[in-house]
Symmetry: C2
């Protein structure tokens, strides 16, 4: 569950990005994030923990500086002990925006889970600080986070692996590199485990800008695929044996390109 | 459009198979087809035209003989002139079942299209002779036949190539090797061109046994994915530029494993 908001405070945006967002020529997604965070007054803190490359944090720092911010800095959190560093927490608390890079989402959950840094991210977002994350940084947004699974279209009983995520959003399960890596199968497997979830598949260079009112607008060059299982009439998930194809009747699916919107609370899609 | 039936005559089944059906150990799909065609009294005519391998026809002949039929024979039709051979038409007319092999569906449409063989297949099916086709032999069943397109999930303006098929069924567009080759993108592109179509994606070793009453049952080890666009609220297909991601709101999707049924006329899915 997201942290509770203090009375009268508006939450920050949550912006999952499907990975491989444009960084140089026309960084539409990153620019819109910076704009939300205050543009030239923005203070962006980068969490590069998912990545095992040394320069991921500094690279994003340069990108944000080129877009034009007051300050962008990367917190070198690569072990659990770093995520308990009170200095880092203080730096984080100065942010108008938090950006979590790609890499391995299990590094994010195993290193940040239950630490002061994770708690602060959740609290700051509830207090109005915007959160954007790409690839692994998008996956971790879900309360029920996809960590792996089968590729293809058709779901199976063992088609997805889930782990607890950071839970900035609790009714949707996110997947990234969606069209590029053919991940409908694992998203369908996830939503059919428990149809209270809405499945949201983000293509590369594509983001869902989720407002404090729980509605998102699509930004970027690809599409966001929404799988709404709330009207499922039948699912064979509980009876299926490992490897069996599943029967799932009456899924609702929306494909949303740039500018299209989706209201998560009402489960309703709108055109651009 | 399918050939009109003569008053009182029941049409034959139409059985598209998604390719790579089990042929030796437990040939469930082929055995059910043989059973429909009369079992030990079945006379199966094989059309190997889609394939460019010399032994495709004789191989299926052996498979049907092993299952147990009265007669199985292959018509060596590899050019348009063969498809006008009156001898072949006479042999075809003795069939209780027609089986069309895999290969290239454009060979089927270019070689058989408009010939006495194609006309006879359509008439015989209207008169009660059963038709089964695998892979290319399944594709050709559609009036609007998929010949190629992009792989992945998300549809695009140029995401599918269509050609006129044999039209044994006119309200559905079929695709094969569906899960194995990630073909949702092209199926969604096809149904969004004109939402009167129902998209039916057949996995390998999986068949839709379509009854004369326009309802099908799934047989085989994979799934059949049904995409029903009839309630689409909005499609950006007409405005999209080449390569653009599309917005499609409110698709209905069913995943149907073995035993599940779909009524094409009523657009309604049922569990096994």
């Amino acid at each position: 569950m997201p942290s509770p908001t203090i009375d009268g405070t508006q939450r920050g945006y949550v912006i999952p990005i499907g990975g491989a967002e444009e960084k140089i020529d026309n960084p539409e997604i990153l620019s819109k994030f910076v704009e939300l965070c205050g543009g030239k007054d923005a203070v962006i803190t980068i969490i590069p923990t998912a990545s095992q490359l040394d320069d991921t944090g500094t690279r994003y720092q340069q990108i944000f500086e080129e877009i034009g911010v007051k300050k962008a800095h990367s917190l070198p959190i690569s072990e659990r002990v770093d995520a308990q560093n009170e200095e880092y927490v203080k730096i984080l608390e100065q942010s108008t925006g938090i950006f979590v890079t790609g890499g391995n989402q299990l590094r994010l959950s195993t290193i940040l889970g239950g630490t002061p840094i994770a708690k602060t991210i959740r609290q700051l977002n509830a207090q109005g600080v915007h959160y954007a994350g790409t690839s692994a940084g998008a996956a971790i947004v879900s309360q029920h986070m996809i960590t792996g699974g089968s590729t293809g279209i058709v779901p199976t009983e063992d088609g997805v692996n889930l782990a607890p995520g950071m839970g900035l959003i609790n009714t949707i399960v996110l997947d990234q590199h969606f069209n590029q890596r053919n991940r409908l199968s694992r998203l369908l497997s996830a939503v059919s485990y428990n149809p209270f979830l809405i499945g949201v598949g983000l293509d590369e260079d594509t983001a869902a800008f989720i407002t404090p009112d729980n509605e998102f607008t699509v930004v970027g060059s690809g599409a966001v695929t929404v799988v709404d299982p709330s009207n499922i009439e039948y699912s064979s998930m509980a009876e299926a044996r490992t490897g069996d194809a599943l029967t799932l009747l009456n899924l609702k699916v929306h494909i949303l390109a740039s500018g299209a919107r989706y209201n998560i609370t009402d489960r309703k899609a709108f055109t651009a």
